[in-house]
Symmetry: C2
Subunit: 324 residues, 2 copies
Amino acid sequence: MRNSPARPGLSERVLSGDRRALARVLTYIENDDPIGEAALERLFPHTGHAHLIGITGPPGGGKSTLVNELIRAWREQDAKVAVIAIDPSSPLTGGATLGDRIRMQEWHADPGVFIRSMASRRFGGGLARNVLALAHAFDAAGFDPVVIETVGTGQDEIAIASLAMTTLLVQVPGTGDGVQTLKAGSLEVGDILVVTKGDRPEAGELTRDLRNLRHVGMAAGVDQSGWQAPVVKTSAVRQEGIGQLIDAIGKHRAWLDESGELDMRNRQIITTDITTRVQDALARQLQGPDSGDATLRALVDAVAARRLTPHRAAADVLARLNRR
Amino acid sequence: MRNSPARPGLSERVLSGDRRALARVLTYIENDDPIGEAALERLFPHTGHAHLIGITGPPGGGKSTLVNELIRAWREQDAKVAVIAIDPSSPLTGGATLGDRIRMQEWHADPGVFIRSMASRRFGGGLARNVLALAHAFDAAGFDPVVIETVGTGQDEIAIASLAMTTLLVQVPGTGDGVQTLKAGSLEVGDILVVTKGDRPEAGELTRDLRNLRHVGMAAGVDQSGWQAPVVKTSAVRQEGIGQLIDAIGKHRAWLDESGELDMRNRQIITTDITTRVQDALARQLQGPDSGDATLRALVDAVAARRLTPHRAAADVLARLNRR
């Protein structure tokens, strides 16, 4: 086959808009197949255009419905929309949840929408790396925005905020007392706070409370970036709020550009990308029983025997790292 | 003061059971104060005795009540119990939640109980490192078990499983349909599944469903470790199930010892400890505007300009790391 007219490679086909090629690259990436990494090497120079939008909130919070409404609105503006739905469902239940499958069917015939469900895995070090790799592939294929959706309370929200340029934090009315809601929600990570199920009687009160809390936070100097997170109430039942939310997302994107904050967030996303890759590789080297690097494994042995502290082991790793 | 009779150092006082010294070390650690790291250097050789137990589940799932009942049962056996409650509450609400404060007051007079509430932070890379540092301090001070409690769905559960020897996964009856429950729960990470609020009418069905799911999972080879996770139904109202749960925890600990799995999990916890420290240090070096390491920052610049892929940047970091 040498010197025969080259069949376009996988990444070239992704760049030309071939959906099946894209799907294959995504699968290679998810399976940690070297073909995925090789394709990413070629795709990465074509990235840097997509708006990465994180959406997080409690389970049963109406996120899937909200994302569906957003897709519809973006499609009316002819945007190509990708969704990475991070799904903590058990391997026992077999991958994508029922809700995701229904949603995927709805948009299946539309080449301007690509929804990818992704299982979070045990010892999820690889998750951030994989999510960013998928986002790069979508970005190179011309999708913009790329939505990263997670069920989350606590660390999830924090994690997603370090992967996205704009983070939507979903809050649901009528799901508990105030203390619990506050405990579950890390308001700081939300660039935009979205109250879903706005037809519920408690929705107005929650919206007011969130607006007040936001003012308290601003006054206390909790958020010093200069962006004042809007609170948007939406209702799928009443078909309300999505236009406002699309506006808020656009305004945040414009603010990111004007304030220079976009550069900061991009550097942060890249730092996450590099450091999680390093961490994953380190964990493999340190833990693998057939690891090639005896030096690194010896560090774990020394710490396990209490001959070395984790602090000194990490310092040893870093000293070798910074040696020129 | 040179050559004067040495006043016992902070870590010596922790080792001798001084509760105020311990509290100070915990605060230094949480604030990333070098005094905390210095104390840990002296404390670490005295660790390796405590049973690290993770407890995770949805907000409002009755975890605080459950932990309280466990403390009571362990105190009857004269165990010294420490609890690290990871609290995703907003800085806006000011640290520990109401529930935590009530609980802390209840045990305040008992020197055999130490409850520490710890806020999860934005860009939470430091969280795992800090939780383990607190656990080391408690371990050195003679606390055993050390409970790590998080609100969590999704990544939280995965994260806690990599910090604990035994993980209790809390499931709550009557909080949603089956699909949602499964989506929210990552059953695999639970060494013991705990159904709280066992007085609710749906508790029996949930317990049965979880037992069935577990059998399906065993048959499918999802869990190949050889441990069959028990499902324990508890009720604080009826004062039921805690004895059974204490038994199940003891059995899991015995199994860890006999099967050799304890060594594996300890190596995994140490690996997490080292790699998160390296990752945190890398992130500071890569991102800090006044970072001393221009080489690392240049990598981020090159990736931001799309002259370098994240994969190659990480490979560059790792190559320098493995250079002898």
